[in-house]
Homo-oligomer: 325 residues x 2
């Protein structure tokens, strides 16, 4: 079972077929970066069309049972998620509304300050806000998973503290592996794991030492060290694959509607383009590479299986259940 | 000339007549607390209807010349303003859009964390955000005045620093007069005045020592001390009068759509009701009381006139002009 903790692709049937060919049981896909409620609903409607049109290949994942269904029917389960809280706008009721539409994972902030928490590119980190605490309670209640991938350090520590259920960092790497505003300190990773959380390790070039030059072995060695530090059950994958988009989509991700002055995030190349992926992870076939890489590092089959998908399965199975009354 | 730096009343013709009877040249009125773009536009449309229906009593103020027009035609100028940045939503272009609709003053945050800055009721203050700096530039460019009445300390200091034009705190008092999360430290007031800003002193009970029991003399003595500390040109009035509303409106102001758990702000009475005003300032006739109170404190007519309105006039005349190209 392979579960990928994040992808944002320009989806089409060929990609769904690839996901099947690579035996992906589930993928957490992004339906909002800066999209507001109305725009997010339009994106979800698009997914609902795809669920109908390609129901031989994909199905929506609303709970742990759907993951089992995906596996047993040899299809790829799709977990709809938000990289920001913009879909709920200023309304705590938006959590329930978006949950009812099928969303199951939400980041509390995306790079910038949101109404809930601070993003990793802000100069100062005010932590989880008053509204943020209300929303965390709602997410806990409904079984919508809190994701702090693009949030700032103190905000992430507070989210772990305020949430009464484990949270996820769906796509990031340890700062000790590569220093980047998007990667996570040992302090955050230790707190995440101590409270039952999960880290999905990222293949996005800006999260890797050397970017596209990062070797498969280097990446797999990082996974091994992470298992040693956090414990096997807290380590998974979140590839952050972004296939098939033009630059306009990257500009949207980086600048939304908020930046009059173009912002390039952590890309200091001055080139307005998507960064190159490592050649061994340029698409969905890359998961096989990681599996092989971990074998080469001497990891056991049982541990590899957990990293490739079983940890995500266990986390989702528990995390997507509504809170016990 | 009397100019009031903030009122939020349940407006009707009788109130406009009172404003005339009390010789109010201009009032900064609130058209948004938590209202988004669409809701704010509806509120502005309502004002545009009133501008037509009551054009013998009121007129919109878009610039300093309109203040002169209000004075010379013996009408009350209305300055449309927002107590929060919710009307621009997540879009820097919202500043120009709202400016084109007639809005001239905007607070960067209202009690809570906003996308631009932190509010005074948050536990932590992250300062002005990345989006906030973009918006400050837009407001500076267009001549929309930055108001930090409900913002937190560090955010306010940063707004003063990042803005290349003077800002206002339209309705608050010094913390040294009454300790409250909504009142302002000497550090903030000194920085405000040093950069040419203006403080509108508030008559809202939670901003006064003893609430409704605060005497006229005590309030006027505070104004005198403030003149000594900041200089006469930085002191005005911003009554924060809220006439004619039921509790539902107060609940909206305090809780918006963000609070599932009812929040009472700085009201620890446990009573879901509007606080009582001081008897000497329970309505628009209160401005005469302040004038008389300042006379009793021995303030000169010239200084009293500045506090009652001329300082606001000078500030608005400069602040509402678009930035020189």
């Amino acid at each position: 079972m392979i579960i990928d903790g994040l992808q944002y692709n320009n989806w089409n049937r060929a990609l769904f077929e690839q996901a099947r060919a690579e035996n992906l049981t589930a993928i957490h896909v992004t339906v909002s970066y800066w999209e507001n409620a109305e725009e997010t609903e339009a994106n979800i409607r698009q997914w609902n069309r795809w669920f109908d049109e390609h129901d031989d290949l994909i199905l929506p994942v609303l709970n742990g049972a759907d993951l089992e269904r995906a596996a047993s029917s040899q299809r790829t389960g799709i977990i709809l998620g938000f990289q920001n809280c913009s879909p709920i706008e200023d309304d705590y009721r938006g959590v329930e509304r978006m949950h009812s539409l099928g969303a199951r994972i939400m980041q509390l902030s995306y790079n910038n300050q949101s109404l809930l928490a601070t993003g990793c590119y802000e100069e100062h980190d005010g932590g989880v806000t008053r509204f943020g605490r209300e929303v965390i309670r709602e997410m806990n209640r409904l079984g919508m998973i809190i994701d702090m991938s693009h949030s700032a350090e103190e905000s992430t520590l507070q989210a772990i503290k305020y949430s009464n259920r484990p949270i996820v960092i769906s796509h990031a790497n340890p700062s000790s592996f590569h220093s980047a505003l998007r990667n996570k300190s040992d302090r955050v990773l230790d707190a995440l794991a101590a409270e039952g959380g999960l880290l999905g390790c990222s293949l996005y070039p800006f999260h890797l030492p050397g970017g596209a030059d990062c070797s498969r072995a280097l990446f797999c060695q990082m996974l091994c060290r992470l298992v040693d530090r956090l414990g096997i059950e807290h380590v998974g994958l979140g590839s952050d694959l972004c296939l098939g988009w033009g630059y306009d989509k990257l500009a949207w991700m980086r600048n939304g509607r908020w930046a009059k002055t173009t912002d390039h995030g952590e890309d200091d190349s001055g080139t307005p383009a998507w960064p190159d992926q490592p050649p061994w992870f340029s698409g969905l076939a890359g998961f096989r590479e990681i599996d092989e890489g971990l074998v080469q590092e001497g990891m056991s089959r049982g541990e590899i299986d957990r990293i490739m998908g079983l940890n995500w399965q266990a986390f989702l199975d528990e995390g997507l259940a509504p809170e016990a009354a």
